[in-house]
């Protein structure tokens, strides 16, 4: 005879924490940085760099976004959201004070503790730079724990570079370099006009004691991976975040899978060693 488990009330994992939009700032023409505060003090939301959460635009739906803030600073939950679809469109319409909801945090994170003492190369393209911001914040807040830091941020155009106002701060600490590049410049741009993989080849960072963290559009990730391999980086030294179409974040809807792995639960942070066999599927 099969015994019954005592019935317990299971919280519905699809119901977000109620939250309030406290600020909404334009990062680029189509990217905004949202700051959210949870409405109920009892809701727990502890997270690490690399993790993501679903943000609701009630009436339209919800979407997954990488957390762009760090938990320990207690400055609210921040998300950089690019306007590409119905949910992001609706989010962009929200005014500070608007009610929203957050579900998360989900996924794994960058094991920054494991990287202590290493040289870190942070490579991000476009909106893909958002999940790298907490990585940078954490490393710079604990600057002495890490070796050389190279930050490479690229975008289609100068006005698409996310977090431009923070570049100067990032470059201030010693042994820290910020390199910017764009696919196409404009009248006010004096910097590089080149693709990220090419800039990487030019800068030629040494793989010795180094970890490369990449985040960006799939095509950029693919080409950057190749360049890093050429530079001698091993599969374990390359860490990336993958983007997948997600609906639940809970490892249920089986939409974001790469092979048997869920981007939402087993990722989004993967070493190249973990995904090398699936990279063509991605």
């Amino acid at each position: 005879m099969v015994k019954e488990a005592t019935e317990k009330v299971i919280p519905n994992p699809f119901v977000p924490y109620p939250a309030t939009l406290t600020s909404s700032v334009d990062l680029t023409t189509d990217v905004k940085l949202f700051t959210l505060e949870l409405d109920r003090p009892e809701d727990e939301f502890d997270y690490k760099p690399g993790q993501f959460a679903f943000v609701s635009a009630f009436g339209v739906g919800e979407g997954p976004f990488g957390l762009a803030s760090v938990a320990y600073r207690k400055e609210g939950l921040q998300f950089a959201v690019r306007r590409v679809g119905t949910v992001t469109n609706a989010l962009h319409q929200l005014e500070p004070g608007a009610k929203t909801g957050v579900r998360g945090p989900f996924g794994n994170f960058f094991p920054l503790d494991d990287y202590k003492g290493k040289n870190i190369i942070i490579i991000g393209g476009g909106i893909g730079f958002a999940p790298l911001r907490p990585v940078i914040t954490t490393i710079l807040d604990n600057r002495e724990d890490y070796g050389e830091v190279l930050i490479l941020n690229g975008a289609r155009s100068p006005s698409d570079l996310c977090f431009a106002s923070e570049f100067d701060d990032w470059a201030k600490p010693p042994r820290t370099k910020v390199e910017l590049t764009v696919d196409a410049g404009d009248d006010n741009w004096n910097g590089r006009v080149a693709l990220i993989p090419d800039v990487l080849a030019e800068l030629g960072p040494s793989p010795k004691d180094a970890i490369a963290i990449i985040c960006g559009p799939p095509i950029m990730i693919k080409f950057t991976l190749t360049r890093l391999k050429n530079l001698g980086f091993g599969d374990e030294q390359i860490v990336t975040t993958l983007e997948g179409k997600m609906k639940c974040g809970l490892g249920k809807c089986f939409r974001c899978n790469v092979g048997e792995k869920y981007v939402c639960r087993d990722g989004p942070v993967f070493t190249f060693a973990e995904i090398s066999q699936f990279i063509e599927q991605f």
């Binding site: 962009h92 319409q93 929200l94 005014e95």
Partner: protein
């Protein structure tokens, strides 16, 4: 981010008297994305507009709904208002609370509910508005005038005098049109040729005018400022560059044929100019009738009698200008604006059995009478009966032949017939005091400067007998024509023995007017008269920007009207061509390339040829919209199943939002 401001207008008591405006304002405040709502006594007043501008700045509004009168009234006003406050003028939507609500409903509660719904829909729509920017396109500063009658001549001269190049296309060998066939003009009785000929000569001599006689417009592509027109130049068989118009050829040509210009009453030669004052005063060869052409045709089959080889013109031409090798050719020219002045033709009276169905030689049309009266006409101005060349004494005029007659599908009034018949009666009496004129009429329409006096003169001074009534039958009785009719004023049948009967044939749209209209994408009515953009306020514009209409092509009108009309069209063209670039309306269709399947249903339904084919980087052939041609009708949007085309300002999203906000309110 959307911060919508809603401004509800009382319009004095026009709206506020029925619609509870404060309630609408409160309801608006509760609508999604509405950041601000307020009311005005008169929103269109300077104070009202100022309050919108202030609110946009103070409340950081990014979209505005004005709930007031019809958008057809003040949409432009408020677009300018929001623009002065720094918003894109297209981030505005009007909710119509006056014409569509307060003025037609008396139940205040229901009207208020409807007003709230209309505001709701406007809010839903404006939330999806995007900033739109008119584009600038260059233009070709040349005009094409189609039709070389008095209207076209006037338009061409005016445009040319303003410094723009003009091409004047005339399908006949000479310009002049119908006016050149007239003897005198009413009500002043000045000689038609005397006032027209100088203008014709001006056309020929004006440095800015290129005259393409014996030519027709075949195809028109492009759009305002940038039309590309294919013009067919028919083969004249005479090199007009070398021809001096000495006249030897047409004087010596042995082949005589009926003259079209004289409407069958006279003859011309196979190589000819249509009339003495023709411009250009250089001949063309009528290929149908030329003896050499007939000979050439014969050599191909050698059937029947061998015609003479002739070629007399060629032999006698002092400048060797006969060009047998000439072919018709199509030239393509670019223009910024087009004027259509294709005029009219006269009604063919042979459909009237009761008037003899064209069988009696002495039943003629009034235009034929003009030729008989003309000093340059076949009888050199002597009015002679076609049947026996005698002077007619009793002359009957019948009005409204092919006008005001549903029976023949011409219910409209041709406007000029009453007056030219009066002119005829006066002139005939002057020519020959023994003449007695009778005029069968329905009404006398003499609206116009000096017209009524003129019509009176025909009766009072020239003794024409006006009989109100229709003619039921005409029959030939020996040399006389028996005209049976009715004088409806005294209610008695009348019978008149006439020597000549003149039918006041009405005006019809010229041959091919419909084909030309289709080519130009302008509309025409069931009588093939062209339709102006607005009958009162835009009388020479059409629905196709850059295409103007003038003269009798639009509907029956007399010479002074035609001249005024031609000048009006010219003024519009000059205004257009004086710009350095043109602004296009941004409410056009737009294709989402990733969604287009390339079925081109859009292209099939587009009335403006605005859909073009484009190859994507991955090799797909997809649609794209030429925004200069697109008029924003949205036909393509509905034809597009995959939803790849949208119409700016009336997007699928916007219309659906309006519906959804209404049904799920």
């Amino acid at each position: 981010m959307s911060r919508i401001g809603v401004f509800v207008c009382h319009c004095g008591t026009n709206i506020g008297g029925i619609v509870n405006v404060p309630e609408v304002v409160e309801a608006a405040k509760a609508m999604p994305l509405v950041a601000y709502a307020d009311e005005n006594k008169y929103t269109c007043s300077e104070v009202g507009q100022g309050s919108i501008r202030d609110a946009i700045r103070e409340q950081k509004l990014d979209r505005v709904v004005v709930a007031a009168c019809s958008p057809r009234m003040h949409e432009n006003t408020f677009r300018k208002t929001v623009a002065t406050a720094g918003l894109n003028p297209y981030l505005l939507e009007i909710a119509n609370l006056r014409e569509h609500c307060s003025w037609v409903h008396s139940d205040s509660k229901k009207a208020t509910a409807k007003a709230i719904d209309h505001v709701r829909m406007a809010v839903a729509k404006v939330a999806r508005h995007e900033s739109l920017f008119p584009k600038q396109v260059g233009l070709t500063k040349r005009a094409l005038v189609i039709g070389g009658g008095i209207t076209g001549i006037q338009a061409a001269l005016d445009i040319a005098s303003a410094g723009h190049e003009v091409v004047l296309v005339e399908k006949e060998p000479s310009v002049g049109g119908r006016m050149s066939q007239l003897d005198k003009t009413f009500p002043t009785l000045d000689c038609s040729a005397c006032i027209l000929t100088p203008k014709m000569v001006d056309v020929a001599q004006h440095p800015n005018i290129t005259l393409l006689s014996y030519s027709e417009v075949k195809e028109v592509r492009g759009f305002v400022g940038n039309f590309e027109v294919d013009i067919l130049k028919k083969a004249k068989m005479v090199d007009h560059k070398t021809c001096t118009g000495c006249g030897t050829c047409w004087q010596k040509c042995p082949e005589k044929v009926t003259s079209e210009f004289d409407l069958g009453l006279g003859q011309r030669t196979a190589i000819y100019i249509p009339f003495a004052q023709a411009v250009p005063n250089k001949p063309v060869i009528d290929m149908e009738n030329c003896r050499y052409q007939k000979y050439l045709k014969w050599t191909q089959t050698e059937e029947g009698k061998k015609p003479p080889e002739c070629r007399i013109c060629e032999k006698l031409c002092p400048t060797k200008s006969i060009a047998w090798e000439q072919q018709e050719e199509i030239v393509t020219e670019k223009f910024g604006a087009l004027v259509v002045a294709t005029g009219f033709k006269t009604f063919d009276h042979s459909v009237y059995g009761e008037y003899g169905a064209g069988r009696y030689p002495d039943v003629i049309s009034s235009l034929q009478l003009e030729r008989l009266m003309s000093a340059a006409g076949p009888t050199e101005g002597e009015v002679l009966r076609p049947s026996d060349n005698t002077h007619p004494k009793n002359i009957v005029f019948i009005q409204c032949v092919g006008s005001r007659d549903d029976k023949v599908g011409r219910p409209y009034c041709s406007k000029v017939c009453c007056m030219y018949t009066a002119k005829h009666a006066i002139m005939l009496k002057e020519h020959d005091p023994e003449v007695q004129c009778y005029v069968f009429y329905i009404d006398i329409r003499a609206g116009g400067k000096d017209f009524e006096e003129f019509a009176r003169r025909a009766q009072d001074e020239s003794g024409a007998v006006y009989l109100r009534g229709r003619v039921s039958q005409i029959y030939q009785d020996g040399k006389t024509l028996k005209v049976l009719g009715e004088d409806s004023l005294i209610g008695r049948p009348v019978e008149i023995d006439a020597d000549l009967v003149v039918l006041a044939t009405g005006m019809e749209a010229s041959e091919d007017a419909d084909r030309l209209a289709q080519t130009l994408h302008i509309s025409y009515n069931i009588y093939n008269f062209l339709i102006e953009a607005h009958p009162k306020l835009r009388p020479v514009e059409t629905q196709t920007d850059g295409v103007f209409v003038a003269g009798a092509a639009v509907g029956p009108r007399d010479i002074p009207d035609c001249v005024a009309h031609g000048s009006a069209a010219a003024a519009k063209v000059i205004g257009l061509l004086s710009q350095d670039s043109l602004t296009t309306d941004p409410l056009t269709a737009i294709v989402a390339p990733m969604k287009c399947v390339g079925c081109f249903a859009c292209k099939a339904v587009c009335p403006f040829n605005a859909i073009e084919e484009q190859t994507t980087r991955d090799g797909r052939i997809i649609a794209s919209v030429n925004e200069s041609l697109c008029k924003g009708c949205g036909l393509c949007v509905v034809a597009c199943r995959p939803g790849a085309i949208n119409l700016r300002g009336f997007t699928n999203q916007q219309l659906l939002s309006e519906v959804m906000t209404l049904v799920r309110r």
